[in-house]
């Protein structure tokens, strides 16, 4: 009740009009809706029940079959389905011997005949008396100490022989060489984007040309009253003159020359240089077209 009043007071504060409306449920449902059950939910339960019943039935079937088999097993086992002649097993040995003899009569083999009789009577493989008791002693007696040590030495020698050789004092020097490698950082490859370099140097060369041209023009001017600025003088250069200069100095823009220039110490801080590790360098070389070097 406290909760109800609290909610009502809250509503009166926030929305007096709403609080004044009688709270009612205007939604209705079909008759017996909640009593008839829910089809989908029932379907799920039915499927699960059916599955459970099937499993139960399967187990029941297996149980029943087991019982039947158990009850009848004794009877089944006792039924002789394969029959043999009377006294078959008692006379089997005699019959085999007779058969052999009959065969020998057709293909005589004296040794076989003698052996045939003997083999059925005695064990033809015999050993001296106490053979096995004395066997270990006999073997040891044959193996002398000298022989044993020689054998052991041969084995040891064989194990020590290797086909791989090492430089002298290799293991003595190894720890230090490893330490040296750890301390020295790998030099990474520098990748130079020549296209950007080419463009930048082209601009720089053009500007240099203009400055040089301006200076040249100034030298030619003997008129002390020349008041034209360098920019004005550069502006007087024709397009053809500029193109001719670049064409005659094109060798300056070749890839190898650019690379040589950029490898100099002074050019270390150029923004287009990148330090790459081995993996990055491999990737770069495999995807070189992406970088549009026009090499």
């Amino acid at each position: 009740m406290n909760n109800k009043n609290e909610i009502l007071d809250e509503l009166k504060t926030l929305a007096p009009s709403l609080a004044g409306i009688a709270k009612q449920n205007c939604f209705t449902i079909p008759k017996n809706y909640f009593l008839q059950g829910m089809p989908k939910v029932s379907a799920v339960a039915d499927i699960l029940e059916e599955q459970a019943t099937k499993i139960q039935n399967d187990f029941m079937y297996l149980d029943l079959m087991s019982e039947i088999l158990a009850d009848n097993f004794a009877d089944i086992a006792n039924v002789e389905v394969f029959k043999v002649p009377k006294n078959y097993f008692e006379t089997l040995t005699e019959n085999v011997v007779a058969y052999k003899k009959a065969k020998l009569a057709i293909e005589p083999n004296v040794e076989s005949a003698v052996a045939l009789d003997a083999s059925f009577q005695t064990n033809k493989y015999a050993v001296p008396e106490n053979y096995f008791d004395e066997l270990s002693q006999n073997i040891l007696a044959k193996v002398t100490v000298a022989d044993l040590s020689a054998f052991e030495k041969a084995v040891e020698t064989q194990l020590n022989e290797t086909v791989f050789t090492l430089p002298n004092n290799y293991f003595d020097k190894l720890p230090q060489s490893i330490l040296n490698k750890i301390k020295t950082p790998e030099k990474s490859a520098k990748i130079i984007f020549l296209q950007k370099v080419r463009n930048a140097l082209a601009i720089a060369a053009t500007l240099a040309l203009f400055v040089a041209g301006a200076w040249f023009l100034n030298l030619d001017k003997t008129d002390a009253t020349n008041t034209q600025s360098i920019n004005q003088q550069i502006a007087q250069l024709s397009t053809e003159e500029v193109k001719a200069y670049i064409a005659s100095n094109a060798y300056l823009f070749e890839s190898e020359i650019l690379a040589e220039d950029l490898m100099e110490e002074d050019n270390k801080n150029l923004f287009w240089q990148m330090d790459l590790n081995a993996d990055e360098l491999d990737y770069y070389l495999q995807n070189i077209e992406e970088y549009n070097l026009n090499i």
Binding site: L18, N25, V41
Partner: protein, 182 residues
């Protein structure tokens, strides 16, 4: 729902061979509460019928995963709310008119609905609720119709009490304003 009944449901459920019996008990105990909560969200009986059944199917599949650290009905309400919101979002995508705008004439649809029995004021109220954003609608319904406490609502909607209070206040103000309009 009394604690004893929740324990009874879980006892039958945990036994294994009485799972179905436990589930039937659960559905019977909560179907009306969940149905009305869903119905107020989606308005129409056929839609509510679909959503409530989907809710219980979800409950059946996930009851083993319910950790029982909160009340069962809070968990059920959360599933029902999410299913309702999902349904409304799907309906919004399929529909030509956005339901949360005044362009959507819910009152016309409700008047034509055989399962709606309300006067003009109630129609207007339902229209006002229909144009609220979905989560605000859920907050309003839970507080106004079902008189749920904020801390329980917080578990249902997984939102802080402060945010819920703010949301309810905004919702009530909007409804009030709509009711005052001609």
């Amino acid at each position: 729902m009394s604690k004893v009944t929740e324990e009874e449901i879980f006892a039958k459920w945990d036994a294994g061979d009485t799972k179905e019996e436990a589930f039937k008990l659960l559905v019977t105990a909560y179907q009306e509460k969940l149905y009305w909560h869903i119905r107020r969200m989606v308005h129409f009986h056929d839609d509510a019928d679909d959503v409530v059944q989907n809710t219980f199917i979800k409950v059946w599949r996930n009851l083993d995963k319910f950790k029982r650290q909160s009340k069962l009905y809070t968990w059920l309400y959360r599933i029902a709310t999410n299913e309702s919101l999902t349904f409304l979002q799907k309906k919004k995508r399929k529909g030509t008119v956005a339901m949360e705008t005044k362009d959507y004439d819910l009152s016309a649809d409700l008047k034509a609905d055989p399962y709606f029995d309300g006067n003009e004021i109630q129609l207007k109220l339902q229209q006002a609720i229909a144009i609220l954003p979905e989560k605000q609608k859920a907050v309003f319904n839970l507080r106004y119709f079902e008189e749920m406490k904020y801390d329980e609502m917080s578990e249902v909607l997984d939102t802080s009490v402060g945010a819920l209070k703010a949301s309810y206040h905004h919702a009530v103000k909007k409804v009030e304003k709509f009711l005052k309009e001609d």
